[in-house]
């Protein structure tokens, strides 16, 4: 707030709520730039976010993009409330490098926390500017007037003027000062309500919703033939037989990048099949043995970072437990394979993409194509849900490389199913070793957490070029160096620091640079495995201490909001303390505050085991979530239900299969996910806290759900399973 003087000058009566009017002194020139909230900090101009149009509409721009999480609906609610306009007047532009703020990636459950808060401040300020301008026109004393605003119409006693009449006169091309506090919870009409998603009607009636649905005049269709494995070399290629096929417009070969462009989509697919027959590869044996993957990764050189330590007075330990938990490589496994449309015309490239970060993508495209970044525009269009860094960015480069051979015509490229499963960057395999000591009254006196992992982000960013095809070109571009994401958010060590209050602890992140399998960001990053491990281990300790798992957790939670979600989940699930186990039916709990910064979530899962097959039946999941001030309760519930089901799928069924040459799981039969008959009933309780700041929530369920399932299986069977996924085969083997 430096450089900013606030003084209360009067009251503005506004649509059922009271708005305070403030006078703003311009920041002095010598002052440091004021620290602005959320993404305003890096995108400081008001008109980058808000435009008031003479035709009675409002244009809102955001760098965040719709991934199926409902963000555009939530941002529209925010803008409608802060501007006092009907949501129907609002047009949202999102993720366009020619039009919107650069907000990096839409990732990490940060869109409400960054874009949402930026819009709240920007819209509040714009509304105030419009009020001041209106008052001036009415010759009302500056800062001393009463006005109501109803859907963009400002009324003073007897006179009124609309935003749209003022649109030409208000200059929004200036830096935000963020001096206007967004509305208090009492005055809100849209925030906090379950507004229906703006995109769903089109999605259930065949509207054009996705980049896959984009049809441009003269558009061609492209397909890529990838090498059979990461290290395969192209030793022979008979291009002519592909070129001879009907409809083929171009065959592109650059190093070991092979692609084809055709008039019709089915012709492009047929030509891809022919490419496969026309290419001969030499495949090295370059991958580790799958059965040894965890020990192989732990044998690699690692950078060790102690990310948390507490040195309370040592206490006598009566018992010490140690256990190691693992997760395999996990796929994003989007239902729709990645897709992009690219057009190269007059030296300029336009790419329509479902990337999570159009600005970083643009910069990496410039490197890969050796183009001036100013000649590239990336425009977001929705894709299938991605849940992190899937093939979205890679296919954008594929489309651009093919567009260069298309004489100015646009080219749509969609990956085939095996492209997606074979080449997407997976969520990394991880192992977590936990060690803790209990004293003679069953209290945890010492705690150690060691996590071994690769990086959790190889997105297009800063140095290097992180687009797949760039590595296969005759003049390949090197990928960036893998790096850590620092605490407190963390990457592989996300949520490795327990929220529980222990007197002594040491948390060590063993960061492994070498990546035998391609990896990057998958929903929740390392939090999934770290929380699975911590919350499983808490149950193991509780059992040793002979204390009910809910009660055991409560003893170490100092944060009342954390205790509240644990209690709410337990009570809504009808948790009976100290219920005897081993009956074939069981229940378990898992808890975390995502990133130790975002939403609090606890979930109770009930299971029934089939001893003969080893199968786990999920009966019910009951979750409680506290995401601070909730923008859209139904959107939050939808995301939480989805997170629970997806995490249950990861936990019970999923692992990427590979052999020493290549990825083996390349279709849904080799990478099964949870299906309708396997999905539990779900109940989500929202603990709304309108006076607390909004917290990111989209990834909060992943870790707690995994642990709750493992704990429920342990309760039902007495078997503690520590290696994901918890397949029937593994459970059966554990039964012996």
């Amino acid at each position: 707030m430096s450089g900013l003087v606030l003084s209360r000058r009067g009251f503005i009566q506004s649509a059922g709520a009271l708005t305070l009017a403030f006078s703003l002194a311009p920041p002095s020139l010598a002052a440091e730039p004021a620290k602005l909230p959320g993404s305003l900090a890096n995108n400081r101009m008001l008109d980058a976010w808000v435009r008031i149009n003479g035709d009675g509409t409002v244009t809102i721009s955001t760098g965040k993009v719709e991934l199926g999480q409902g963000i555009l609906t939530a941002l529209e609610q925010i803008a409608a409330d802060e501007l006092d306009v009907d949501p129907k007047r609002i047009t949202l532009i999102s993720g366009d490098t020619a039009q919107t703020p650069d907000e990096g990636f839409t990732s990490g459950s940060q869109s409400i926390e960054y874009s949402g808060i930026a819009l709240r401040y920007a819209c509040a300020e714009v509304k105030q500017m419009l009020l001041d301008l209106a008052a001036k026109r009415m010759d009302l004393p500056h800062g001393n007037y009463a006005a109501t605003v109803e859907d963009g119409t400002i009324s003073f006693s007897g006179k009124s003027v609309t935003y749209w009449e003022l649109a030409g006169a208000v200059d929004l091309h200036r830096e935000a000062m963020a001096g206007f506090v967004p509305r208090s919870p009492q005055g809100l009409r849209h925030i906090g309500k379950s507004a229906p998603r703006v995109d769903i009607p089109a999605k259930v009636t065949g509207g054009a919703s996705y980049v896959q649905d984009l049809r441009l005049p003269g558009m061609l269709y492209g397909r890529i033939l990838r090498p059979p494995s990461y290290g395969a070399e192209l030793v022979a290629f008979e291009e002519a037989r592909v070129r001879a096929l009907p409809g083929v417009v171009a065959v592109v070969r650059d190093g070991r990048f092979l692609g084809v462009v055709a008039e019709r989509e089915e012709q492009a697919i047929a030509a891809r099949d022919e490419l496969a027959r026309a290419a001969q590869w030499r495949e090295p044996t370059s991958l580790p043995k799958p059965e040894d993957i965890q020990s192989y990764l732990r044998s690699l050189p690692a950078e060790d970072h102690v990310v948390s330590s507490k040195d309370g007075a040592p206490a006598a330990a009566r018992s010490t437990l140690e256990a190691t938990y693992t997760r395999p490589y996990t796929a994003h496994a989007s239902i729709g394979p990645s897709c992009a449309v690219a057009q190269m015309k007059d030296g300029a490239l336009t790419v329509w993409t479902h990337s999570q970060g159009v600005f970083p993508l643009k910069r990496d495209l410039a490197k890969a194509l050796e183009m001036d970044v100013a000649k590239i525009r990336c425009v977001h269009a929705q894709g299938s849900g991605c849940y992190g860094h899937n093939g979205a960015d890679d296919v954008a480069l594929d489309a651009a490389l093919l567009a260069r051979a298309a004489n100015g015509r646009p080219v749509k490229v969609q990956w085939m199913r095996d492209d997606e499963f074979g080449w997407e960057p997976f969520g990394p395999a991880m192992s977590v070793k936990l060690k803790a000591s209990l004293d003679d009254v069953g209290k945890i006196v010492d705690w150690a957490h060691d996590v071994w992992t690769n990086t959790h982000s190889m997105r297009p960013e800063k140095e290097g070029c992180n687009l797949l095809a760039a590595w296969h070109l005759a003049q390949p571009k090197a990928p960036g160096k893998p790096g850590i994401i620092p605490q407190p958010a963390g990457g592989g060590d996300r949520n490795a620091v327990p929220l529980y209050d222990f007197p002594r602890q040491k948390v060590t992140h063993h960061f492994i640079s070498e990546m035998p399998i391609r990896v990057s960001a998958l929903r929740a990053l390392g939090a999934y495995a770290n929380i699975f491990a911590i919350e499983s281990f808490m149950d193991e300790l509780a059992r040793t201490a002979k204390v009910d798992p809910v009660e055991f957790r409560m003893r170490y939670l100092n944060d009342p909001r954390a205790s509240a979600v644990v209690q709410a989940a337990a009570s809504h699930a009808g948790w009976q303390p100290n219920l005897p186990g081993g009956t074939g039916k069981g229940r378990g709990i898992g808890f975390a505050k995502y990133k130790n910064l975002s939403a609090y979530l606890a979930v109770v899962v009930e299971v029934e085991m089939d001893r003969a097959s080893g199968a786990t039946r999920l009966v019910r999941a009951t979750a409680a979530i506290d995401a601070g001030q909730v923008i859209n309760p139904d959107g939050l519930i939808n995301q939480t239900e989805g997170g629970i089901i997806q995490a249950a799928s990861w936990t019970l069924k999923e692992q990427v299969l590979f052999n020493p040459q290549h990825i083996v799981s390349r279709d849904w039969s080799r990478y099964p996910i949870l299906t309708f008959p396997e999905v539990p009933a779900i109940d989500v309780v929202v603990l709304d806290r309108p006076s607390e700041k909004s917290l990111g929530a989209g990834e909060a369920a992943q870790g707690p759900t995994a642990a709750a399932i493992a704990n429920a299986i342990a309760h039902a069977t007495g078997l503690r399973l520590r290696d994901l996924p918890l397949t029937p085969e593994r459970i059966k083997a554990a039964f012996g």
Binding site: I200, P201, T205, G207, S209, Q212
Partner: protein
């Protein structure tokens, strides 16, 4: 190929310039500009491409147009519109039964096939009917509610 094949889609007959073995999906999407059916796997595994042929759900990604010729084809566009949605579409909106929504075409069309043969399905019936339709966002519970709601509405 030169002559193409006549297809009757959502009540309209059109000649499409595609080879007889072309999967129906590409003709619907690219020649007829119908967005609903989606490419998911090309292997009949995920269901995103489901349409009705002769009232029965088929996987259009691997259903050749020569087999579809002469039979009525219904896509999600043929069920209803935003202004006048089919009870299934209305129920999916009412239940907010989508996240990314990419699979939803298949859910709606498979459910349409189910409700045609079983107007009063149990929860178990709906789960079985959708057992081979994949959703990755985890919208299953809402989809089940939406299909049950549509069945109730249609029975009125």
């Amino acid at each position: 190929m030169a002559d193409g094949i006549e297809l009757t889609v959502n009540g309209k007959t059109r000649r499409v310039p595609a080879a007889p073995d072309t999967p129906l999906l590409y003709v619907l999407r690219n020649d007829l500009a119908l967005n609903g059916a989606k490419f998911g796997c090309g292997l009949s595994q995920c269901g995103a491409c489901t349409v009705l042929v002769d009232g029965k759900p088929v996987r259009s990604c691997s259903y050749p147009i020569e087999e579809a010729a002469g039979k009525p084809i219904t896509t999600i566009e043929g069920l209803g519109t935003i202004e006048k949605p089919h009870p299934l579409q209305a129920a999916f909106i009412e239940e907010q039964a989508a996240q990314c929504g990419y699979c939803i075409n298949g859910m709606v069309m498979t459910a349409a096939g189910l409700l045609a043969r079983n107007p009063r399905p149990s929860d178990g019936d709906i789960r079985q009917a959708l057992a081979n339709n994949l959703c990755r966002c985890g919208t299953h519970v809402r989809i089940l509610h939406a299909v049950a709601r549509a069945a109730r509405e249609m029975a009125r």
